[in-house]
Each structure stands twice: as structure tokens, then as C-alpha cells.
Amino acid sequence: MSDEGFDAGHRVAPVPAGRLTARRERLGSTVLVVLAGELDLDSLAPADEALERALADGPARVVVDLAELGFCDSSGLNLLLRTRIAAQEAEIELRLAAAPDGQFGRLLELTGAGAVFSLHASVPDALADA
């Protein structure tokens, strides 16, 4: 899959402030979950549902694309940390795609949670093996 082709596929209309949209996509043995907008206590539900379903699909790998996530606080981080534990139990590999210099990268740095995630700068990086 080319970089451009993938990009074109998951670009979405801008999400209103404070809202979150979640999209799932099956790519072979991987499920891609794209979270776009702002993830906080009030917008957890769609992200939670998409991540839960992605794990329930039983793929080898789940990649969570956070490139369009404009904001995430500790409520969102907690969801991803819970997802990490659930993935581990189901023996599914979890990878996050997020620019390290973005707001989510800042959140990982502030909390130290970066240490426990498999972090990739972009979705193509995350889809590459090893």
C-alpha cells in the first residue's frame, strides 16, 4: 500500500471541537482504528467501542492512528492503556501511530506512558513489519 493511497483513504471531514470520530478498517491481518477529533472523558464512547470491536475481530495486530487526534487528555490515555492490557491478554499486537512532537506525544512524555506503547511516527511505519 502506498503512503498516498492510504492517506487518501482515511482523511476525514474536520471533526467539531470536542467531538471524536472513530473508524475501523481491516487491512489483511491488521485492524486499523482511526481516531479523529478530541478525546476526553466526554468523547470516550466511540473510541472505546471501536477499540473493543477491533480486538474482538481477533486480528494479529491493531494499529491506532492518532494523526488526526487534535487533543487527548488522561481519560483518553487511560482508554489506550486499558486497550494495551486487553490486547496483551488476547495476544494481539497493539501499535500506535502518532507524531512524537504532537500533543499526544507530549501527553506520553508528561505521564511516562510512552514507555509501554509500541509507538510509530506514521501509519505506514506502524504497518511495516518489526
Partner: protein, 164 residues
């Protein structure tokens, strides 16, 4: 594809330094204050953040990443009031030449408790650690009717010259 694609990768220290190089704030020293009642509103957390974003824009708070950090503090404090204290009652912002003070009130007298030890890899207990890391001072005042949890962040100018 990445909102931050144009920004070079920076460490935390560099982010702060970058913010400090921007234009100093042109706030009147007497300060600005804005308050919004959040009690009963849906989506309190996003609402609080939007309110703060607008105020900081109007006040020309310097530094894109500095503003992002401030919005994260607002988000954490309002979320905590929602999760642990029956909802936020009010959000106040006070800006001066030296600092921004963020205050979130709720109707429960129990003060927040920093979760110790902080376990970076596990869900829970990150909110107040974030507030502690991002703020210069933070605290709680418990009143007869509830409490105010607050955080203060120095402006880049005040940080550069703490004696001023």
C-alpha cells in the same frame, strides 16, 4: 496528515524555550478574568477547553504548545470534577503579566489525592500528575459548600525573570 508536521521534533525543554522566544504577552498587569458556569452543561470537559481556548486567544497568550498545555490542565481539572465530585460547577481563568490561574470548582468537600506511586504504564492516576508537572503551583481550597482546585502557570516572561 500530521497537524504538527511543520514543527521540528523538540524535547520538553525546547518547547518551553520556543514559547519563551515568542512575543511577550500584552496583557494589562491588572489582569483579566473570565468565568463560565459549567454546572449542568453536557460535555463539560470540551466546553471548558473551548472556553479557555477562546480566552487565551483573546488574551494573545504566547506559545502554541504553551496553550496546548494549559488546555490539558483545564481538561484534567474539569474531568476530575466530573468523575470524582459530581461535576464541575464553575471554571475561572485569571491572567496577569506573571501567570495564568485556572480554577475549577465543584460541590464536594473531599480534596483530590495525588495517586502514589505514579505508575506510568497503568490506567488511572495520571490527571493530577499532569497538573503537577505542567503547573508552577497547584492546590485546593475546601469551603463550606465544596472546593476549588486550582493551578497556576507562570508566563514565559515571569519564568525568565522569577524575581520580577
Amino acid at each position: 496528515m500530521n497537524d504538527h508536521a511543520g514543527v521540528n521534533q523538540m524535547t520538553s525543554g525546547q518547547r518551553g524555550a520556543e514559547a519563551a522566544r515568542r512575543l511577550p504577552s500584552d496583557l494589562p498587569p491588572a489582569g483579566q478574568r473570565r468565568t463560565v458556569r459549567l454546572a449542568g452543561l453536557p460535555r463539560q470537559v470540551a466546553h471548558g477547553r473551548e472556553f479557555a481556548r477562546t480566552a487565551l486567544t483573546d488574551w494573545r497568550w504566547p506559545g502554541e504548545e504553551a496553550v496546548e498545555d494549559l488546555l490539558l490542565i483545564v481538561s484534567e481539572l474539569v474531568a476530575n470534577a466530573r468523575l470524582h465530585a459530581g461535576g464541575a460547577v464553575q471554571l475561572s481563568l485569571h491572567a496577569s503579566a506573571e501567570r495564568l490561574r485556572i480554577e475549577v470548582s465543584d460541590a464536594i468537600r473531599t480534596p483530590p489525592a495525588l495517586s502514589l506511586p505514579h505508575r506510568p504504564g497503568l490506567p488511572g492516576g495520571h490527571g493530577l500528575h499532569i497538573v503537577q508537572r505542567l503547573s508552577d503551583d497547584w492546590g485546593v481550597a475546601v469551603h463550606a459548600d465544596g472546593k476549588v482546585v486550582w493551578a497556576e502557570v507562570l508566563t514565559p516572561a515571569a519564568e525568565a525573570d522569577p524575581g520580577a
